[in-house]
Amino acid sequence: MSTPVLHIDQVNKHFGGVAALSNVSLNIQPGEIYGLIGPNGAGKTTLFNVMTGLYSPDSGRFQLDGKDYQPTAVHQVARAGIARTFQNIRLFNAMSALENVMVGRHVRTRNGLWAALSRHRIAREEEAQTREWAHRLLEYVGMSGFANYRADTLSYGHQRRLEIARALATEPRLLALDEPAAGMNASEKVQLRGLLEKIRDDGHTLLLIEHDVKLVMGVCDRISVLDYGRVIAQGTPEDVRRHPAVIQAYLGASAHV
Protein backbone atom coordinates (compact mmCIF):
# COMPACT_ATOMS: atom_id res chain seq x y z
CA MET A 1 0.00 0.00 0.00
CA SER A 2 1.33 3.44 -0.83
CA THR A 3 1.85 6.18 1.75
CA PRO A 4 -1.53 7.65 2.56
CA VAL A 5 -1.98 11.35 1.80
CA LEU A 6 -3.59 11.82 5.17
CA HIS A 7 -3.17 9.40 8.01
CA ILE A 8 -5.29 10.03 11.10
CA ASP A 9 -4.36 7.88 14.06
CA GLN A 10 -6.44 7.53 17.23
CA VAL A 11 -7.62 11.12 17.44
CA ASN A 12 -9.64 12.17 20.49
CA LYS A 13 -11.40 15.43 21.17
CA HIS A 14 -13.59 16.23 24.13
CA PHE A 15 -15.77 19.25 24.77
CA GLY A 16 -16.39 19.17 28.50
CA GLY A 17 -17.88 15.77 29.13
CA VAL A 18 -18.88 15.18 25.53
CA ALA A 19 -16.60 12.97 23.48
CA ALA A 20 -16.87 14.66 20.09
CA LEU A 21 -14.25 12.35 18.62
CA SER A 22 -13.10 9.10 20.19
CA ASN A 23 -10.25 7.10 18.71
CA VAL A 24 -10.94 8.15 15.17
CA SER A 25 -8.51 6.63 12.70
CA LEU A 26 -8.55 6.73 8.94
CA ASN A 27 -6.26 6.68 5.94
CA ILE A 28 -6.83 8.61 2.75
CA GLN A 29 -4.96 7.16 -0.22
CA PRO A 30 -3.56 9.22 -3.08
CA GLY A 31 -5.94 9.74 -5.96
CA GLU A 32 -9.15 8.73 -4.25
CA ILE A 33 -12.30 10.51 -3.20
CA TYR A 34 -12.79 9.74 0.44
CA GLY A 35 -16.20 10.27 1.96
CA LEU A 36 -16.99 11.14 5.53
CA ILE A 37 -20.64 10.78 6.45
CA GLY A 38 -22.74 10.47 9.56
CA PRO A 39 -25.92 11.79 11.08
CA ASN A 40 -26.10 15.30 12.51
CA GLY A 41 -23.80 15.75 15.48
CA ALA A 42 -21.74 12.70 14.60
CA GLY A 43 -18.48 14.62 14.74
CA LYS A 44 -17.83 15.26 11.05
CA THR A 45 -17.32 18.97 11.45
CA THR A 46 -15.25 18.52 14.61
CA LEU A 47 -12.91 16.17 12.75
CA PHE A 48 -12.71 18.67 9.94
CA ASN A 49 -11.90 21.50 12.33
CA VAL A 50 -9.26 19.48 14.14
CA MET A 51 -7.73 18.60 10.80
CA THR A 52 -7.63 22.21 9.67
CA GLY A 53 -6.08 23.60 12.84
CA LEU A 54 -9.14 25.35 14.26
CA TYR A 55 -9.13 23.04 17.31
CA SER A 56 -6.22 21.07 18.66
CA PRO A 57 -6.91 17.39 19.41
CA ASP A 58 -6.63 16.08 22.97
CA SER A 59 -4.61 13.17 21.71
CA GLY A 60 -3.81 11.40 18.49
CA ARG A 61 -1.58 11.88 15.51
CA PHE A 62 -1.86 13.27 12.00
CA GLN A 63 0.47 12.51 9.15
CA LEU A 64 0.41 14.28 5.82
CA ASP A 65 2.31 12.44 3.09
CA GLY A 66 4.05 10.38 5.77
CA LYS A 67 5.27 13.44 7.67
CA ASP A 68 3.96 14.47 11.05
CA TYR A 69 1.49 17.29 10.71
CA GLN A 70 0.46 19.44 13.65
CA PRO A 71 -1.03 22.75 12.61
CA THR A 72 -0.92 25.38 15.36
CA ALA A 73 -2.50 28.12 13.26
CA VAL A 74 -5.15 27.97 10.59
CA HIS A 75 -2.99 29.66 7.97
CA GLN A 76 -0.36 26.92 8.16
CA VAL A 77 -2.82 24.31 6.95
CA ALA A 78 -2.97 25.45 3.34
CA ARG A 79 0.79 25.79 3.19
CA ALA A 80 1.15 22.26 4.56
CA GLY A 81 -1.10 21.02 1.77
CA ILE A 82 -4.74 20.86 2.86
CA ALA A 83 -7.13 23.26 1.15
CA ARG A 84 -10.75 23.50 2.09
CA THR A 85 -14.07 24.83 0.98
CA PHE A 86 -16.84 25.95 3.29
CA GLN A 87 -20.28 24.54 3.96
CA ASN A 88 -21.76 28.03 3.70
CA ILE A 89 -19.89 29.52 0.74
CA ARG A 90 -17.23 31.99 1.84
CA LEU A 91 -15.85 33.85 -1.14
CA PHE A 92 -14.21 37.26 -1.22
CA ASN A 93 -17.41 38.92 -2.37
CA ALA A 94 -16.26 42.32 -3.57
CA MET A 95 -13.43 40.79 -5.59
CA SER A 96 -13.68 39.32 -9.07
CA ALA A 97 -13.74 35.58 -9.66
CA LEU A 98 -10.23 35.84 -11.07
CA GLU A 99 -8.95 37.68 -8.01
CA ASN A 100 -10.51 35.10 -5.72
CA VAL A 101 -8.48 32.39 -7.40
CA MET A 102 -5.38 34.60 -7.43
CA VAL A 103 -5.65 34.92 -3.64
CA GLY A 104 -5.53 31.12 -3.57
CA ARG A 105 -2.06 31.34 -5.18
CA HIS A 106 -0.81 33.44 -2.27
CA VAL A 107 0.83 30.57 -0.40
CA ARG A 108 2.73 29.40 -3.47
CA THR A 109 4.05 32.83 -4.45
CA ARG A 110 6.53 35.19 -2.85
CA ASN A 111 6.03 38.76 -4.07
CA GLY A 112 6.34 41.08 -1.10
CA LEU A 113 6.27 44.79 -0.42
CA TRP A 114 9.29 45.70 -2.49
CA ALA A 115 8.03 43.60 -5.40
CA ALA A 116 4.67 45.40 -5.26
CA LEU A 117 6.27 48.86 -5.28
CA SER A 118 9.11 48.33 -7.74
CA ARG A 119 7.49 45.75 -10.02
CA HIS A 120 10.90 44.41 -10.98
CA ARG A 121 11.17 41.73 -13.62
CA ILE A 122 10.81 38.70 -11.33
CA ALA A 123 7.81 40.29 -9.61
CA ARG A 124 6.08 40.96 -12.94
CA GLU A 125 6.74 37.39 -14.07
CA GLU A 126 5.30 35.95 -10.88
CA GLU A 127 2.24 38.19 -11.14
CA ALA A 128 1.69 37.13 -14.76
CA GLN A 129 2.03 33.48 -13.78
CA THR A 130 -0.46 33.92 -10.94
CA ARG A 131 -2.93 35.47 -13.37
CA GLU A 132 -2.31 32.69 -15.90
CA TRP A 133 -2.83 30.02 -13.23
CA ALA A 134 -6.07 31.64 -12.14
CA HIS A 135 -7.40 31.82 -15.71
CA ARG A 136 -6.52 28.16 -16.27
CA LEU A 137 -8.25 27.09 -13.06
CA LEU A 138 -11.39 29.05 -13.90
CA GLU A 139 -11.43 27.32 -17.26
CA TYR A 140 -10.85 23.99 -15.50
CA VAL A 141 -13.98 24.38 -13.37
CA GLY A 142 -15.94 25.61 -16.38
CA MET A 143 -16.03 29.32 -15.58
CA SER A 144 -13.70 30.85 -18.15
CA GLY A 145 -16.30 33.44 -19.16
CA PHE A 146 -16.74 34.75 -15.64
CA ALA A 147 -13.23 35.90 -14.72
CA ASN A 148 -14.19 39.54 -14.29
CA TYR A 149 -17.48 39.01 -12.51
CA ARG A 150 -17.74 40.02 -8.90
CA ALA A 151 -17.94 36.87 -6.81
CA ASP A 152 -21.27 37.79 -5.23
CA THR A 153 -22.94 38.31 -8.61
CA LEU A 154 -22.30 34.69 -9.63
CA SER A 155 -24.93 31.97 -9.49
CA TYR A 156 -24.93 29.54 -6.60
CA GLY A 157 -23.46 26.70 -8.61
CA HIS A 158 -20.72 28.95 -9.95
CA GLN A 159 -19.88 30.19 -6.48
CA ARG A 160 -19.37 26.58 -5.38
CA ARG A 161 -17.12 25.96 -8.36
CA LEU A 162 -15.18 29.15 -7.70
CA GLU A 163 -14.51 28.02 -4.14
CA ILE A 164 -13.14 24.76 -5.49
CA ALA A 165 -10.96 26.62 -8.02
CA ARG A 166 -9.66 28.90 -5.28
CA ALA A 167 -8.79 25.88 -3.12
CA LEU A 168 -7.09 24.12 -6.04
CA ALA A 169 -4.94 27.21 -6.61
CA THR A 170 -3.07 26.44 -3.39
CA GLU A 171 -1.83 23.19 -5.03
CA PRO A 172 -3.19 21.08 -2.19
CA ARG A 173 -2.15 17.49 -1.46
CA LEU A 174 -5.66 17.03 -0.11
CA LEU A 175 -8.73 18.97 -1.16
CA ALA A 176 -11.29 18.93 1.64
CA LEU A 177 -14.85 19.82 0.70
CA ASP A 178 -17.34 20.60 3.45
CA GLU A 179 -20.82 19.72 2.16
CA PRO A 180 -20.26 20.94 -1.40
CA ALA A 181 -23.72 19.81 -2.49
CA ALA A 182 -25.60 21.70 0.22
CA GLY A 183 -28.38 23.72 -1.33
CA MET A 184 -27.88 22.38 -4.83
CA ASN A 185 -30.64 21.13 -7.09
CA ALA A 186 -30.49 17.78 -8.86
CA SER A 187 -28.86 18.97 -12.07
CA GLU A 188 -26.27 21.04 -10.20
CA LYS A 189 -25.43 17.93 -8.17
CA VAL A 190 -24.84 15.93 -11.33
CA GLN A 191 -22.48 18.63 -12.60
CA LEU A 192 -20.70 18.76 -9.25
CA ARG A 193 -20.21 15.03 -9.35
CA GLY A 194 -18.67 15.30 -12.79
CA LEU A 195 -16.31 17.99 -11.58
CA LEU A 196 -15.22 16.01 -8.52
CA GLU A 197 -14.52 12.95 -10.64
CA LYS A 198 -12.55 15.05 -13.10
CA ILE A 199 -10.45 16.49 -10.28
CA ARG A 200 -9.75 13.00 -8.95
CA ASP A 201 -8.91 11.63 -12.38
CA ASP A 202 -6.34 14.41 -12.76
CA GLY A 203 -4.50 12.96 -9.80
CA HIS A 204 -5.88 14.93 -6.87
CA THR A 205 -6.99 13.46 -3.57
CA LEU A 206 -10.30 14.60 -2.17
CA LEU A 207 -12.04 14.39 1.16
CA LEU A 208 -15.77 14.87 0.98
CA ILE A 209 -17.86 15.64 4.02
CA GLU A 210 -21.45 15.34 2.98
CA HIS A 211 -24.99 14.90 4.15
CA ASP A 212 -26.21 13.74 0.78
CA VAL A 213 -25.77 9.98 1.10
CA LYS A 214 -26.68 9.37 -2.51
CA LEU A 215 -23.95 11.67 -3.78
CA VAL A 216 -21.38 10.18 -1.42
CA MET A 217 -22.26 6.62 -2.36
CA GLY A 218 -22.07 7.51 -6.01
CA VAL A 219 -18.84 9.44 -6.15
CA CYS A 220 -16.64 8.21 -3.30
CA ASP A 221 -14.10 5.41 -3.59
CA ARG A 222 -14.05 4.75 0.14
CA ILE A 223 -16.12 5.97 3.03
CA SER A 224 -15.96 6.32 6.80
CA VAL A 225 -19.17 6.60 8.76
CA LEU A 226 -19.08 8.52 12.02
CA ASP A 227 -21.65 8.27 14.78
CA TYR A 228 -21.36 9.78 18.25
CA GLY A 229 -17.72 10.56 17.56
CA ARG A 230 -16.76 7.00 16.63
CA VAL A 231 -16.01 5.42 13.31
CA ILE A 232 -18.71 2.77 13.02
CA ALA A 233 -17.92 1.57 9.52
CA GLN A 234 -15.21 1.95 6.92
CA GLY A 235 -14.85 0.65 3.40
CA THR A 236 -16.20 0.89 -0.13
CA PRO A 237 -19.71 2.26 -0.67
CA GLU A 238 -21.04 -1.29 -1.09
CA ASP A 239 -19.50 -2.46 2.19
CA VAL A 240 -20.77 0.53 4.07
CA ARG A 241 -24.26 0.37 2.63
CA ARG A 242 -24.78 -3.13 3.99
CA HIS A 243 -23.06 -2.58 7.31
CA PRO A 244 -25.55 -3.25 10.18
CA ALA A 245 -24.18 -0.46 12.36
CA VAL A 246 -24.74 2.07 9.56
CA ILE A 247 -28.28 0.96 9.00
CA GLN A 248 -28.89 1.20 12.70
CA ALA A 249 -27.39 4.65 12.96
CA TYR A 250 -29.36 6.04 10.06
CA LEU A 251 -32.65 4.21 10.37
CA GLY A 252 -32.85 3.18 14.03
CA ALA A 253 -32.40 -0.15 15.82
CA SER A 254 -35.59 -1.85 14.71
CA ALA A 255 -35.30 -1.22 11.01
CA HIS A 256 -34.89 -4.17 8.67
CA VAL A 257 -33.66 -3.59 5.17
Binding site: V74, R84, F92, E99, M102, V103, H106, L113, R150
Partner: protein, 367 residues
Amino acid sequence: MTLSTAMTAPSSKRAHFGLLLFTVALVLAPWIVGHAGGNTWVRTLDFALLYIMLALGLNIVVGYAGLLDMGFIAFYAVGAYLAALLSSPHLLQQFPALVALLPAGMHTSIWLILPLAALLAAGCGVVLGAPTLRLRGDYLAIVTLGFGEIIRILLRNLDRPVNITNGPKGIAQVDPVQLLGVNLARTQELFDLRLPSVYLYYYLFAALVLLILFACIRLERSRIGRAWMAIREDEEAAEAMGLDTRRLKLLAFAIGAAFGGVSGALFASFQGFVSPESFSLNESIAVLAMVVLGGMGHIPGVILGCVLLAALPEALRASMGPLQQALFGQVLMDPEIIRQLFYGLALILAMLYRPAGLWPVKAGGAR
Protein backbone atom coordinates in the same frame (compact mmCIF):
# COMPACT_ATOMS: atom_id res chain seq x y z
CA MET B 1 -28.48 42.61 -13.10
CA THR B 2 -27.19 43.80 -16.39
CA LEU B 3 -23.92 42.68 -17.85
CA SER B 4 -22.35 46.09 -17.60
CA THR B 5 -22.74 46.28 -13.85
CA ALA B 6 -21.75 42.70 -13.16
CA MET B 7 -18.66 42.73 -15.33
CA THR B 8 -15.52 44.42 -14.22
CA ALA B 9 -13.08 45.48 -16.85
CA PRO B 10 -9.33 45.35 -16.37
CA SER B 11 -8.68 49.01 -15.78
CA SER B 12 -4.94 49.56 -15.82
CA LYS B 13 -5.12 51.97 -18.77
CA ARG B 14 -7.90 53.94 -17.15
CA ALA B 15 -5.90 54.17 -13.94
CA HIS B 16 -2.92 55.64 -15.80
CA PHE B 17 -5.16 58.11 -17.58
CA GLY B 18 -6.79 59.06 -14.29
CA LEU B 19 -3.41 59.60 -12.69
CA LEU B 20 -2.36 61.84 -15.57
CA LEU B 21 -5.52 63.93 -15.28
CA PHE B 22 -5.06 64.21 -11.54
CA THR B 23 -1.46 65.35 -11.98
CA VAL B 24 -2.53 68.09 -14.40
CA ALA B 25 -5.26 69.22 -12.00
CA LEU B 26 -2.76 69.13 -9.16
CA VAL B 27 -0.33 71.41 -11.00
CA LEU B 28 -2.99 73.92 -12.06
CA ALA B 29 -5.16 73.97 -8.94
CA PRO B 30 -3.33 76.61 -6.85
CA TRP B 31 -3.33 79.10 -9.74
CA ILE B 32 -7.05 78.72 -10.35
CA VAL B 33 -7.93 78.75 -6.66
CA GLY B 34 -5.42 81.50 -5.88
CA HIS B 35 -6.72 83.66 -8.68
CA ALA B 36 -10.31 83.27 -7.51
CA GLY B 37 -9.83 83.49 -3.76
CA GLY B 38 -6.31 84.54 -2.89
CA ASN B 39 -3.63 82.94 -0.75
CA THR B 40 -5.99 81.90 2.05
CA TRP B 41 -7.55 79.45 -0.32
CA VAL B 42 -4.22 78.13 -1.52
CA ARG B 43 -3.44 77.53 2.13
CA THR B 44 -6.66 75.52 2.38
CA LEU B 45 -5.43 73.51 -0.59
CA ASP B 46 -2.14 72.89 1.20
CA PHE B 47 -4.06 71.42 4.09
CA ALA B 48 -6.20 69.40 1.69
CA LEU B 49 -2.99 67.82 0.36
CA LEU B 50 -1.85 66.94 3.88
CA TYR B 51 -5.25 65.37 4.45
CA ILE B 52 -4.95 63.43 1.21
CA MET B 53 -1.69 61.88 2.43
CA LEU B 54 -3.36 61.02 5.74
CA ALA B 55 -6.47 59.65 4.11
CA LEU B 56 -4.51 57.55 1.61
CA GLY B 57 -2.68 56.06 4.58
CA LEU B 58 -5.89 55.42 6.47
CA ASN B 59 -7.40 53.99 3.31
CA ILE B 60 -4.84 51.19 3.37
CA VAL B 61 -5.88 50.25 6.90
CA VAL B 62 -9.64 50.81 6.62
CA GLY B 63 -10.30 50.59 2.90
CA TYR B 64 -8.05 47.70 1.91
CA ALA B 65 -7.51 45.63 5.01
CA GLY B 66 -10.91 46.51 6.51
CA LEU B 67 -9.55 47.44 9.94
CA LEU B 68 -11.58 50.27 11.43
CA ASP B 69 -8.93 52.54 12.95
CA MET B 70 -10.34 55.44 14.98
CA GLY B 71 -7.02 56.68 16.29
CA PHE B 72 -5.18 57.23 13.05
CA ILE B 73 -4.28 60.83 13.86
CA ALA B 74 -1.77 59.45 16.39
CA PHE B 75 0.65 58.70 13.55
CA TYR B 76 0.24 62.23 12.19
CA ALA B 77 1.13 63.44 15.71
CA VAL B 78 4.19 61.18 15.88
CA GLY B 79 5.49 62.54 12.57
CA ALA B 80 4.74 66.13 13.56
CA TYR B 81 6.45 65.93 16.94
CA LEU B 82 9.45 64.16 15.46
CA ALA B 83 9.88 66.98 12.94
CA ALA B 84 9.30 69.59 15.65
CA LEU B 85 11.89 68.08 18.00
CA LEU B 86 14.50 67.62 15.30
CA SER B 87 14.22 71.10 13.82
CA SER B 88 13.39 73.50 16.65
CA PRO B 89 15.48 74.96 19.51
CA HIS B 90 13.32 73.14 22.08
CA LEU B 91 15.56 70.12 22.71
CA LEU B 92 18.72 72.21 22.96
CA GLN B 93 17.03 74.50 25.48
CA GLN B 94 16.05 71.53 27.61
CA PHE B 95 19.32 69.65 27.32
CA PRO B 96 22.14 72.19 27.25
CA ALA B 97 24.62 69.33 27.12
CA LEU B 98 23.61 68.82 23.51
CA VAL B 99 24.68 72.34 22.52
CA ALA B 100 28.31 71.26 22.43
CA LEU B 101 27.37 68.56 19.91
CA LEU B 102 25.27 70.88 17.75
CA PRO B 103 26.76 74.35 18.00
CA ALA B 104 24.75 75.53 15.00
CA GLY B 105 21.47 74.51 16.61
CA MET B 106 19.05 71.71 15.84
CA HIS B 107 18.28 72.01 12.14
CA THR B 108 17.73 68.58 10.68
CA SER B 109 17.27 68.37 6.93
CA ILE B 110 13.81 67.52 5.63
CA TRP B 111 15.42 64.71 3.64
CA LEU B 112 16.31 63.05 6.92
CA ILE B 113 13.16 63.99 8.80
CA LEU B 114 10.72 62.51 6.26
CA PRO B 115 12.19 58.99 6.19
CA LEU B 116 12.63 59.06 9.97
CA ALA B 117 9.01 60.16 10.44
CA ALA B 118 7.83 57.38 8.13
CA LEU B 119 9.91 54.78 9.96
CA LEU B 120 8.97 55.92 13.45
CA ALA B 121 5.27 56.13 12.58
CA ALA B 122 5.44 52.67 10.95
CA GLY B 123 7.03 51.35 14.14
CA CYS B 124 4.24 52.91 16.19
CA GLY B 125 1.74 51.39 13.78
CA VAL B 126 3.13 47.93 14.48
CA VAL B 127 3.30 48.50 18.23
CA LEU B 128 -0.27 49.83 18.40
CA GLY B 129 -1.53 47.29 15.88
CA ALA B 130 -0.11 44.18 17.52
CA PRO B 131 -2.46 44.09 20.53
CA THR B 132 -5.50 44.64 18.32
CA LEU B 133 -4.93 41.76 15.89
CA ARG B 134 -7.55 39.52 17.43
CA LEU B 135 -10.18 42.24 17.56
CA ARG B 136 -12.73 42.94 14.88
CA GLY B 137 -15.21 45.61 13.98
CA ASP B 138 -16.52 47.70 16.86
CA TYR B 139 -14.02 46.36 19.37
CA LEU B 140 -11.11 47.24 17.15
CA ALA B 141 -12.55 50.73 16.69
CA ILE B 142 -12.80 51.28 20.45
CA VAL B 143 -9.26 50.09 21.17
CA THR B 144 -7.69 52.14 18.37
CA LEU B 145 -9.67 55.15 19.55
CA GLY B 146 -8.11 54.62 22.97
CA PHE B 147 -4.63 54.37 21.50
CA GLY B 148 -5.12 57.62 19.62
CA GLU B 149 -6.07 59.36 22.83
CA ILE B 150 -3.15 57.80 24.71
CA ILE B 151 -0.69 59.32 22.25
CA ARG B 152 -2.29 62.75 22.51
CA ILE B 153 -2.38 62.65 26.32
CA LEU B 154 1.20 61.42 26.38
CA LEU B 155 2.30 64.38 24.26
CA ARG B 156 0.37 66.69 26.55
CA ASN B 157 2.02 65.38 29.70
CA LEU B 158 5.56 64.60 28.63
CA ASP B 159 6.81 67.93 29.94
CA ARG B 160 7.53 66.42 33.35
CA PRO B 161 9.78 65.13 34.84
CA VAL B 162 11.88 65.71 31.75
CA ASN B 163 10.49 68.26 29.34
CA ILE B 164 10.38 66.50 26.00
CA THR B 165 7.16 67.67 24.35
CA ASN B 166 6.67 70.95 26.24
CA GLY B 167 3.22 69.76 27.31
CA PRO B 168 0.08 71.67 26.34
CA LYS B 169 2.12 74.73 25.29
CA GLY B 170 3.47 72.81 22.34
CA ILE B 171 6.70 73.31 20.45
CA ALA B 172 7.23 76.53 18.52
CA GLN B 173 9.91 77.83 16.15
CA VAL B 174 9.96 74.69 14.04
CA ASP B 175 12.20 75.32 11.03
CA PRO B 176 10.45 75.83 7.73
CA VAL B 177 11.39 73.43 4.97
CA GLN B 178 14.70 74.19 3.26
CA LEU B 179 14.75 72.53 -0.12
CA LEU B 180 17.97 72.69 -2.14
CA GLY B 181 18.85 75.93 -0.39
CA VAL B 182 15.43 77.46 -0.96
CA ASN B 183 13.48 78.52 2.12
CA LEU B 184 9.88 77.60 1.45
CA ALA B 185 8.61 80.03 4.06
CA ARG B 186 9.65 83.05 1.93
CA THR B 187 8.21 84.24 -1.32
CA GLN B 188 10.47 83.21 -4.16
CA GLU B 189 10.90 84.82 -7.55
CA LEU B 190 11.20 82.44 -10.45
CA PHE B 191 11.82 84.36 -13.70
CA ASP B 192 8.82 86.71 -13.73
CA LEU B 193 6.74 84.49 -11.48
CA ARG B 194 6.16 85.42 -7.84
CA LEU B 195 5.72 82.27 -5.78
CA PRO B 196 4.41 82.95 -2.27
CA SER B 197 5.19 80.46 0.49
CA VAL B 198 1.83 78.69 0.26
CA TYR B 199 2.55 77.90 -3.40
CA LEU B 200 6.01 76.56 -2.63
CA TYR B 201 4.68 74.27 0.08
CA TYR B 202 1.85 73.30 -2.20
CA TYR B 203 4.21 71.89 -4.79
CA LEU B 204 6.29 70.07 -2.18
CA PHE B 205 3.13 68.50 -0.76
CA ALA B 206 1.84 67.72 -4.24
CA ALA B 207 5.05 65.87 -5.09
CA LEU B 208 4.72 63.76 -1.95
CA VAL B 209 1.03 63.13 -2.61
CA LEU B 210 1.98 61.81 -6.05
CA LEU B 211 4.63 59.59 -4.51
CA ILE B 212 2.19 58.16 -1.96
CA LEU B 213 -0.47 57.81 -4.62
CA PHE B 214 1.93 55.86 -6.79
CA ALA B 215 2.71 53.52 -3.88
CA CYS B 216 -1.00 53.05 -3.14
CA ILE B 217 -1.89 52.22 -6.74
CA ARG B 218 0.94 49.70 -6.98
CA LEU B 219 0.05 48.13 -3.65
CA GLU B 220 -3.61 47.89 -4.59
CA ARG B 221 -2.77 45.83 -7.67
CA SER B 222 -0.37 43.41 -6.06
CA ARG B 223 -0.24 40.12 -4.20
CA ILE B 224 -0.16 42.05 -0.93
CA GLY B 225 -3.11 44.28 -1.90
CA ARG B 226 -5.23 41.28 -2.91
CA ALA B 227 -4.39 39.60 0.38
CA TRP B 228 -5.52 42.70 2.31
CA MET B 229 -8.80 42.78 0.46
CA ALA B 230 -9.31 39.07 1.03
CA ILE B 231 -8.91 39.68 4.77
CA ARG B 232 -11.39 42.54 4.55
CA GLU B 233 -13.92 40.40 2.71
CA ASP B 234 -13.67 37.26 4.85
CA GLU B 235 -10.91 36.85 7.37
CA GLU B 236 -11.63 33.22 8.12
CA ALA B 237 -11.62 32.19 4.48
CA ALA B 238 -8.44 34.19 3.95
CA GLU B 239 -6.75 32.28 6.73
CA ALA B 240 -7.94 28.99 5.31
CA MET B 241 -6.27 30.00 2.03
CA GLY B 242 -3.02 30.20 3.95
CA LEU B 243 -2.78 33.96 4.39
CA ASP B 244 -0.85 34.94 7.49
CA THR B 245 -3.45 37.48 8.51
CA ARG B 246 -1.50 38.76 11.52
CA ARG B 247 1.54 39.72 9.48
CA LEU B 248 -0.56 41.18 6.70
CA LYS B 249 -2.58 43.31 9.10
CA LEU B 250 0.56 44.59 10.79
CA LEU B 251 1.95 45.47 7.38
CA ALA B 252 -1.20 47.45 6.61
CA PHE B 253 -0.95 49.27 9.95
CA ALA B 254 2.73 50.03 9.34
CA ILE B 255 2.38 51.35 5.80
CA GLY B 256 -0.71 53.39 6.58
CA ALA B 257 1.02 54.86 9.63
CA ALA B 258 4.14 55.69 7.60
CA PHE B 259 2.11 57.86 5.23
CA GLY B 260 0.47 59.52 8.23
CA GLY B 261 3.90 60.20 9.74
CA VAL B 262 5.17 61.86 6.56
CA SER B 263 2.09 64.05 6.48
CA GLY B 264 2.59 65.00 10.13
CA ALA B 265 6.24 65.96 9.63
CA LEU B 266 5.27 68.25 6.75
CA PHE B 267 2.49 69.75 8.85
CA ALA B 268 4.92 70.66 11.64
CA SER B 269 7.36 72.35 9.24
CA PHE B 270 4.55 74.14 7.42
CA GLN B 271 2.92 75.48 10.59
CA GLY B 272 6.14 76.11 12.48
CA PHE B 273 4.32 75.03 15.61
CA VAL B 274 2.82 71.84 17.03
CA SER B 275 0.66 71.28 20.09
CA PRO B 276 -1.34 68.29 21.32
CA GLU B 277 -4.61 70.01 20.44
CA SER B 278 -3.99 69.51 16.72
CA PHE B 279 -4.28 65.76 17.19
CA SER B 280 -7.62 65.33 18.92
CA LEU B 281 -10.18 62.60 18.35
CA ASN B 282 -12.05 65.04 16.12
CA GLU B 283 -9.19 64.98 13.65
CA SER B 284 -9.18 61.17 13.54
CA ILE B 285 -12.88 61.25 12.83
CA ALA B 286 -12.47 63.94 10.17
CA VAL B 287 -9.92 61.84 8.28
CA LEU B 288 -12.11 58.75 8.62
CA ALA B 289 -15.05 60.81 7.33
CA MET B 290 -13.01 61.78 4.26
CA VAL B 291 -12.27 58.14 3.49
CA VAL B 292 -15.84 56.98 4.09
CA LEU B 293 -17.52 59.93 2.36
CA GLY B 294 -15.35 59.58 -0.73
CA GLY B 295 -15.56 55.81 -1.01
CA MET B 296 -13.59 53.36 1.08
CA GLY B 297 -10.91 51.46 -0.76
CA HIS B 298 -11.22 53.60 -3.89
CA ILE B 299 -8.35 56.04 -4.34
CA PRO B 300 -10.15 58.66 -6.51
CA GLY B 301 -13.05 58.64 -4.06
CA VAL B 302 -10.76 59.13 -1.08
CA ILE B 303 -9.10 62.11 -2.78
CA LEU B 304 -12.47 63.62 -3.61
CA GLY B 305 -13.56 63.17 0.00
CA CYS B 306 -10.46 64.99 1.22
CA VAL B 307 -10.84 67.93 -1.13
CA LEU B 308 -14.53 68.33 -0.29
CA LEU B 309 -14.22 68.02 3.46
CA ALA B 310 -11.14 70.23 3.61
CA ALA B 311 -12.74 72.94 1.48
CA LEU B 312 -16.33 72.72 2.75
CA PRO B 313 -15.76 74.28 6.19
CA GLU B 314 -13.82 77.14 4.61
CA ALA B 315 -16.43 77.67 1.92
CA LEU B 316 -19.19 77.71 4.51
CA ARG B 317 -17.22 80.07 6.73
CA ALA B 318 -16.81 82.48 3.85
CA SER B 319 -20.37 82.23 2.53
CA MET B 320 -22.62 82.08 5.60
CA GLY B 321 -22.15 85.74 6.60
CA PRO B 322 -22.87 87.29 3.18
CA LEU B 323 -25.72 84.81 2.59
CA GLN B 324 -27.53 85.92 5.73
CA GLN B 325 -26.86 89.54 4.82
CA ALA B 326 -28.53 88.96 1.44
CA LEU B 327 -31.47 86.95 2.78
CA PHE B 328 -32.34 88.79 5.97
CA GLY B 329 -30.49 92.06 5.66
CA GLN B 330 -28.47 91.27 8.75
CA VAL B 331 -26.28 88.54 10.21
CA LEU B 332 -28.61 86.66 12.58
CA MET B 333 -26.38 83.78 13.55
CA ASP B 334 -22.65 83.48 13.96
CA PRO B 335 -21.31 81.99 10.68
CA GLU B 336 -19.08 79.72 12.79
CA ILE B 337 -22.14 77.97 14.27
CA ILE B 338 -24.09 77.64 11.04
CA ARG B 339 -20.96 76.36 9.38
CA GLN B 340 -20.82 73.38 11.73
CA LEU B 341 -24.53 72.78 11.32
CA PHE B 342 -24.22 72.59 7.55
CA TYR B 343 -21.07 70.51 7.73
CA GLY B 344 -22.92 67.91 9.79
CA LEU B 345 -25.97 68.11 7.56
CA ALA B 346 -23.86 67.56 4.44
CA LEU B 347 -22.30 64.46 5.98
CA ILE B 348 -25.67 63.04 7.02
CA LEU B 349 -27.16 63.62 3.56
CA ALA B 350 -24.16 62.10 1.83
CA MET B 351 -24.36 58.97 3.96
CA LEU B 352 -28.12 58.68 3.51
CA TYR B 353 -28.06 58.96 -0.25
CA ARG B 354 -24.58 57.61 -1.07
CA PRO B 355 -23.88 55.07 1.67
CA ALA B 356 -21.01 53.53 -0.29
CA GLY B 357 -19.40 56.94 -0.71
CA LEU B 358 -19.62 59.66 -3.33
CA TRP B 359 -17.28 57.85 -5.69
CA PRO B 360 -17.21 54.19 -4.71
CA VAL B 361 -15.49 51.25 -6.33
CA LYS B 362 -17.40 50.27 -9.48
CA ALA B 363 -19.31 47.01 -9.19
CA GLY B 364 -16.19 44.89 -9.40
CA GLY B 365 -12.64 44.78 -8.37
CA ALA B 366 -10.71 43.40 -11.33
CA ARG B 367 -7.35 44.98 -10.97
